[in-house]
Symmetry: C2
Subunit: 237 residues, 2 copies
């Protein structure tokens, strides 16, 4: 039986330095919206919240620039990266393009172990979806959803494609969460995932990429149709 890291690199190696710890905590707070878009990130104030020194926090913020979750303009400090509908549209389009290509390659290259991983990831996701009904256990579902998408393209040999996709996925997750409070669950995501999984297993690249593209675009449309005043209220918060 395949081990749990058959997909490649370790899922989430535990942080060994304070910089890494602060980096993860900050990233989580930005993606989950606890630190609002555009908000100023005062080092002197934040170092107490995260329990590290000023230099350490600065370094963590520098790392977050890689992920485009933090922006800095020299001599004027750090800010949480701003959000906009236009940006999310760009993220969606770029992601569709890259993720469909990666999926196509993954379907071509994937071996038996990949099929197994995919089946397992889908199963875990399904379980999380069942559990989620009623309870507000979003975190676990989010994580398993991420892994499902990751496994789908894991057989793609291009490290760079996967690297860029991980950044875009993070960005998209951020927008999804910001809109979460405005829109409950508008569509049957489970059915989409199932169809996607089956098309991939059947090695039908055309069908799989079509479903995946629509799957990603739907998330954007569900946010796009939110009245602008509500959205801006959220973006400005």
């Amino acid at each position: 039986m395949a081990n749990n890291t058959s997909s490649g690199n370790s899922p989430t190696a535990e942080p060994k330095t304070l910089v890494e710890t602060a980096y993860r905590a900050l990233r989580r707070d930005i993606i989950e919206g606890h630190l609002a878009p555009g908000e100023k990130l005062r080092v002197e104030h934040l170092k107490d919240d995260y329990g590290v020194g000023a230099g350490t926090l600065r370094e963590a913020l520098s790392l977050l620039i890689s992920d485009a979750l933090v922006v800095s303009q020299g001599q004027r400090g750090f800010r949480v990266a701003p959000v906009s509908l236009e940006d999310f549209g760009d993220i969606t389009q770029t992601r569709v393009m890259l993720e469909c290509e990666a999926l196509r390659q993954s379907i071509t290259m994937g071996d038996d172990a990949w099929e197994g991983d995919l089946l397992a990831a889908f199963h875990r996701l399904t379980k999380a979806e069942e559990k989620r009904i009623g309870t507000d256990d979003r975190e676990e579902w989010e994580e398993r959803n991420r892994i499902f998408h990751e496994v789908l393209i894991s057989a793609c040999p291009s490290r760079w494609l996967k690297h860029f996709l991980s950044i875009l996925y993070q960005q998209a997750e951020r927008y999804r969460r910001l809109s979460l409070y405005l829109q409950p669950i508008p569509r049957d995501i489970h059915a989409e995932h199932e169809a996607l999984m089956q098309a991939a297993m059947a090695r039908d690249a055309d069908k799989a990429t079509a479903i995946l593209g629509e799957h990603i675009r739907l998330t954007f449309r569900s946010i796009e149709q939110i009245p602008k005043d509500q959205l801006n209220e959220k973006l400005a918060a």
Copy 2:
């Protein structure tokens, strides 16, 4: 007449902080190969070379992780990102895919100002090529080549596509320079650029992307065919 920043963001805003200064100096030294691939980057040693404090240098190194020019493994310091033929192949393929798509969009969206910018960038590149004969003024040509490629896709509306491409271009430049000492000038790059420029001006997206794709791939092939022992010698240096 259009100002010199009609393409969008400022070309190279001068650095205002020491972190930014150290970041650029380090980036340049890595891309140009003065800091060899895989080399250990000892903060205590480097802070003297670049004339900054230890914390400042650490921050600069953290920023270089964004560009994938530096890697770090917790508690074991920083290293120059390693290189490999496989990695360069991946960079090439991914870049062809993204840059052709960006060029297609740019050709569709580009207005008169874009055409003007493109013509100007090509002209400057040509001048640099003429000057370069005999003299070893590679730096200026490199910069103008970069700008030419940047202007080509500048009318593409996707910020993310352009962001990823700027990273890939940097990476490719690094490989190109590493191989520079092994291979002089194997092909007529000027003719390729000219054909590319003309196809773009004629709004022939199919032709332009075909030329661009081949243009990028040729750089890879010219390095690929270098005997492995010579290459590894360079990579290990």
